[in-house]
């Protein structure tokens, strides 16, 4: 296996960012180390980024939420002169495999969504303070912030130069946020996305590309003043004390297996399959929020989210040949429900809220994972409340029906909780159950009547909560045949089919980014006009222009 990409980091290891905490305001500086690229062959000049830079950003955003709940406003700015951020590193993109590019874009998109939602989810508002050039992925970083201030020095501009410069799209949400979030008129957006140099000064405000411009000489003052004003206006309670996100416990086996404290990833390479087993809580739920707070990152429900998140990212980036991910759970469903209930009952508490929001993101990450996903509901499993969401995140689910010979584990059951009805919405802003029963709200209403009651296989199948329930006679064969069949299909067709079937219902900005924008971008990333030897992306930096096949497809 080539070098493993590690999604775990911590502030002592940052090379590209630094944060200065100043009470309710955090100043976040992007100061990319040119020599700190994740792979050899490129230098991260002009605050350009690669996956490594984004992994740090994701860590910062996450720690901001858990470790620094006192922060109400985050000011994202450049630690360099004359450049805010030049976007994704082009030489890195030029040299990267298609699969890496796609996964890189997906992760960066997820990170942008996360800090964009921080205001609504946690009362942490992100301001982009843009000084110097802010192009491509740089402007996409700013676009995902909640407020953009641009210096008016008659040079600094915001730009999406991908199309004219590289023959690709501003694919980290750029095209979508310009119209859907910032509501830039479509013809002006068309102009904006066609000029390399972008738009500066008052016009950037007039076109709604930024929220305000500030005089250059007073820029820092204006930004800090704005930050303090936003902080003062924030509805978020003051004086919250965070918890420390301690390193997760994780070890890698020779065979590619990964063992966490609550998650195990087993690998069957011949079958192209990874099995993720999630362990339920060994202990009762903390008595109250104080108890939870003192458990901190060791609390079962938070520890599990972090481990599961890491496992998914690891499989996505480092185990690309494992096309099939099987979820299993083992544990006491009653305890799972109790752990979740503490959070649901205290959702006004900052930490309870953060953990629930985090679970929302982890589950979305699973929704968004381009592998065939299947859940096995075996005896002894604990698909209850938040863990039951896994069943509706996956493409198919199989449940054990009645007793199995020689298996003395408790009978397989599924238990719904109030959390299954809106606490963990998908990217389409619907709960997984609403999406599953799209157009049939009655079915969802009926399910509410079953909250808290263990549903065994017959009921679960009847209610549409699992795909199939099999008894001892059929189980082994049916599951095996399904897994073998699934592993034999074209991975491209599977990715396409699954992505289409998973997100029923209305479009949101998020689904448009992950669906429409990403699909077009990934198409372009395959086309010779961009990535062929004469394509613009390959030729970038050589001085030669891309040679295009002018046929419209």
């Amino acid at each position: 296996m080539s070098q493993r990409i590690d999604f775990q980091t911590d502030p002592t290891r940052y090379r590209h960012w630094r944060v200065e905490y100043d009470g309710e305001v955090a100043n976040l500086y992007m100061d990319v180390d040119e020599k700190g690229g994740l792979f050899p062959g490129y230098e991260l000049k002009l605050n350009s980024y690669d996956l490594g830079v984004d992994i740090e950003l994701a860590d910062i955003v996450q720690r901001m939420r858990f470790e620094h709940p006192e922060v109400k406003v985050v000011v994202m700015q450049s630690g360099k002169d004359k450049v805010f951020c030049a976007g994704a590193n082009i030489r890195m993109l030029g040299g990267a495999s298609h699969a890496h590019k796609v996964n890189f874009c997906k992760f960066t998109n997820e990170t942008r969504n996360t800090f964009e939602a921080a205001e609504a989810d946690s009362g942490q508002k992100y301001i982009a303070a843009v000084k110097g050039s802010c192009a491509g992925g740089g402007y996409e970083l700013a676009l995902a912030c909640n407020h953009i201030i641009l210096t008016n020095d008659s040079t600094s501009s915001v730009a999406l130069p991908e199309v004219p410069l590289l023959a690709v799209l501003p694919g980290t949400g750029g095209l979508t946020r310009v119209t859907d979030k910032r509501k830039v008129r479509r013809d002006l957006a068309d102009v904006f996305c066609s000029v390399e140099e972008g738009v500066r000064g008052q016009r950037a405000v007039d076109w709604k590309l930024v929220d305000e411009i500030a005089p250059n000489s007073k820029f820092d003052e204006v930004v800090q003043e704005r930050a303090r004003k936003f902080a003062a206006a924030s509805a978020k309670p003051s004086g919250l004390k965070g918890i420390v996100l301690e390193p997760i416990s994780r070890s890698f086996g020779e065979d590619g297996s990964v063992i966490y404290s609550l998650v195990e990833v087993a690998v069957d390479r011949d079958a192209g399959r990874a099995t993720i087993t999630v362990k339920g809580p060994d202990e009762d739920a903390p008595a109250d929020m104080d108890a939870l707070q003192s458990q901190g990152s060791q609390a079962w429900i938070l520890r599990l989210a972090r481990e599961l998140d890491d496992a998914i990212l690891h499989l996505r980036l480092n185990e690309r040949e494992l096309g099939l991910i099987v979820f299993q759970t083992q544990g006491d469903p009653v305890r799972v429900l109790a752990h979740e209930k503490l959070l649901l009952d205290n959702s006004g508490n900052w930490l309870a809220n953060e953990i629930l929001q985090y679970w929302k993101r982890v589950l979305k990450r699973i929704d968004m994972t381009s592998r065939s996903l299947v859940a096995l509901v075996e005896h002894g499993s604990c698909y209850a409340g938040v863990l039951a969401e896994l069943l509706w995140a996956v493409d198919r689910s199989y449940m054990m029906l009645e007793e199995f010979e020689g298996d003395n584990r408790p009978l397989a059951s599924i238990t719904l909780s109030d959390g299954n009805f809106g606490t963990y919405p998908m990217g389409n802003d619907l709960s997984r159950l609403e999406t599953r029963f799209w157009g049939d709200l009655d079915a969802v209403e009926t399910l509410k009547e079953h909250v808290g009651r263990p549903l065994e296989a017959e009921d679960a199948e009847e209610l549409g909560l699992v795909t199939y329930a099999y008894d001892d006679i059929d189980w082994e064969d049916e599951v095996r045949i399904f897994l073998e069949e699934r592993a034999s299909f074209s991975p491209d067709a599977m990715t396409g089919m699954e992505a289409n079937l998973r997100f029923a219902g209305p479009e949101t900005m998020e689904t448009r980014i992950f669906g429409r924008l990403t699909a077009w971008q990934n198409w372009i990333f395959q086309r010779p006009n961009a990535v062929g030897p004469e394509g613009a992306l390959q030729r970038y930096g050589t001085g030669l222009r891309g040679e295009y096949n002018m046929e419209r497809v």
Binding site: S154, E197, G543, R545
Partner: protein, 483 residues
């Protein structure tokens, strides 16, 4: 018939581009004009604005006899739009379109690239006037003051030249860019000039001479490469600007030369053999040669930074597009496309400066910089001839390109002027010998006393060998208005 050689004065803006028949552009330029005059008036101290300065004004673009000399108040100077004559059947000299007819209109696909080049060039022109705005207050002679003003008004005209192109060929965007060229100000916090070196004040006359010698020479090289543009109007504009630019470098070279000359004279008169006997030399009111060397180090390295990164995509794009050529492109004998060629550039490997082959297209900046260094070496040699003549054991040198850099692979790395890697301690120790210190600045500043009598010169600078326009030694180059 349109006279494209002689300058027509039938509009407010002298020109040889038939402006009176180009109503749209004329109107746009006339709208821009008051802002320009306003800029000029606020810039240079009032009494100089009202003084009569013996200036040359372009009356033709014919290389023989293109200018006439006369007294003029600077705000009334006839800044105009002048293009070198069109070359019949000129072709694009380089890049993927090499050999095709030169563009007379902006090619759509290169509009932004072209505009950016013109804006960057245009931004430097007024910047240097801003940097030099207070120098007349300490002019060492009326002759030097006149030269300063000549350089200033011509830089102003260069701004006009770029603004004309923006107005004529780049529509509304171009007009906005032209306005912003007046909005940005050297050293301004609000809207600084685009390139770092153009935001530093020119604090004294030695700096001014060094600036005109080294930094204007960067300007010259940029103009030389733009003169090779496949976009013909830009090429013609730059070709004419080069005629004027030559004078700016003359001012720099002779200025430094006269300082060196004076120092040597005074040393000889006073029996000082050791050029490093700085205290004694300074006591005599002239600038010691080691200080001249330090100033040279500073200005040369700042100018190298203006050429940008060693390996540059922008430069490669501009060359391949045919909108910016190499120095003397038409005299080079390769295929003018460079798609397969390589060029040697400096790089940093294991902390050491090494030379490396890179694709020639991406090294266009470096090639131009190497040509610059060759060009800049000439004057240094002539300064050394002066020192030699006095038998003083001292040689001025261009420092290694790794020294004191802020841009490129050597940026902020510790090299001495010979290009040797040095430790932090050695660098700190060497620095006062390599670059001007604040104390050096104090000393030079102490010499900066105006000398406004015709034919008189400050004691630290020798008179020129010949006057401007062959005027006699005591000619009153500036009739000062003393309010």
């Amino acid at each position: 018939m349109l006279d494209l050689i002689n300058v027509s004065y039938d509009t407010q803006i002298p020109n040889n581009v038939g402006l009176s028949q180009d109503k749209k552009v004329l109107k746009a330029l006339e709208k821009w004009h008051p802002g320009y005059i306003d800029w000029w008036n606020k810039l240079i101290p009032q009494n100089f604005q009202e003084s009569l300065v013996y200036l040359r004004t372009a009356v033709s673009v014919d290389p023989k006899g293109w200018a006439k000399f006369d007294y003029v108040k600077m705000p009334e100077y006839r800044w105009g739009v002048l293009l070198a004559p069109q070359v019949e059947e000129r072709v694009i000299p380089c890049g993927e379109h090499a050999g095709q007819p030169a563009w007379q209109e902006v090619p759509g696909e290169y509009r932004n690239l072209l505009k950016r080049l013109i804006v960057i060039q245009g931004d430097t022109e007024p910047a240097s006037v801003e940097q030099q705005r207070l120098l007349a207050l300490t002019a060492p002679s009326l002759y030097d003051m006149r030269n300063l003003f000549q350089v200033n008004v011509e830089e102003g005209r260069h701004l006009w030249a770029m603004v004309y192109l923006l107005h004529k060929y780049f529509g509304r965007d171009g007009r906005e860019e032209a306005d912003d060229l007046l909005r940005r100000q050297s050293g301004s916090e609000e809207a600084p000039r685009m390139l770092g070196a153009f935001n530093e004040e020119t604090p004294d006359w030695l700096s001014f001479f060094m600036f005109t010698y080294f930094t204007d020479r960067d300007g010259k090289m940029q103009l030389e490469s733009l003169a090779q543009s496949g976009f013909d109007p830009l090429s013609r504009t730059c070709r004419f600007m080069l005629t004027e630019e030559a004078h700016h470098m003359f001012v720099g070279e002779t200025g430094v030369g006269r300082i060196v000359q004076k120092t040597c004279e005074v040393m000889k008169e006073n029996g000082i053999e050791d050029p490093f006997d700085v205290g004694k030399i300074r006591d005599l009111g002239v600038i010691d040669l080691p200080t001249v060397q330090k100033k040279l180090n500073l200005h040369y390295t700042l100018s190298l930074d203006l050429f940008g990164q060693e390996v540059s995509t922008n430069a490669a794009n501009a060359f391949n597009a045919g909108i910016k050529g190499r120095y003397m492109e038409n005299r080079l004998t390769d295929d003018h496309r460079l798609q397969q060629d390589t060029y040697t550039v400096w790089d940093l490997e294991d902390g050491k400066a090494v030379q490396k082959e890179v694709p020639a297209l991406t090294a266009i900046n470096m090639r131009l910089r190497d040509d610059y260094t060759k060009d800049a070496a000439g004057g240094v040699g002539r300064w050394n001839k002066i020192i030699e003549k006095f038998g003083i054991d001292f040689e001025l040198k261009l420092p290694h390109e790794a020294f004191n850099r802020k841009i490129g692979v050597f940026a902020d790395k510790l090299f001495d002027p010979d290009g040797k890697v040095v430790s932090g301690a050695d660098y700190d120790k060497g620095l006062p010998e390599w670059l001007p210190t604040h104390a050096d600045g104090d000393f030079i500043q102490s010499l900066m006393k105006p000398c406004y009598e015709p034919g008189q010169y400050a004691r630290w600078i020798a008179p020129p060998k010949v006057g401007i326009d062959n005027k006699p030694g005591d000619f009153e180059y500036v009739k000062l208005h003393m309010a």
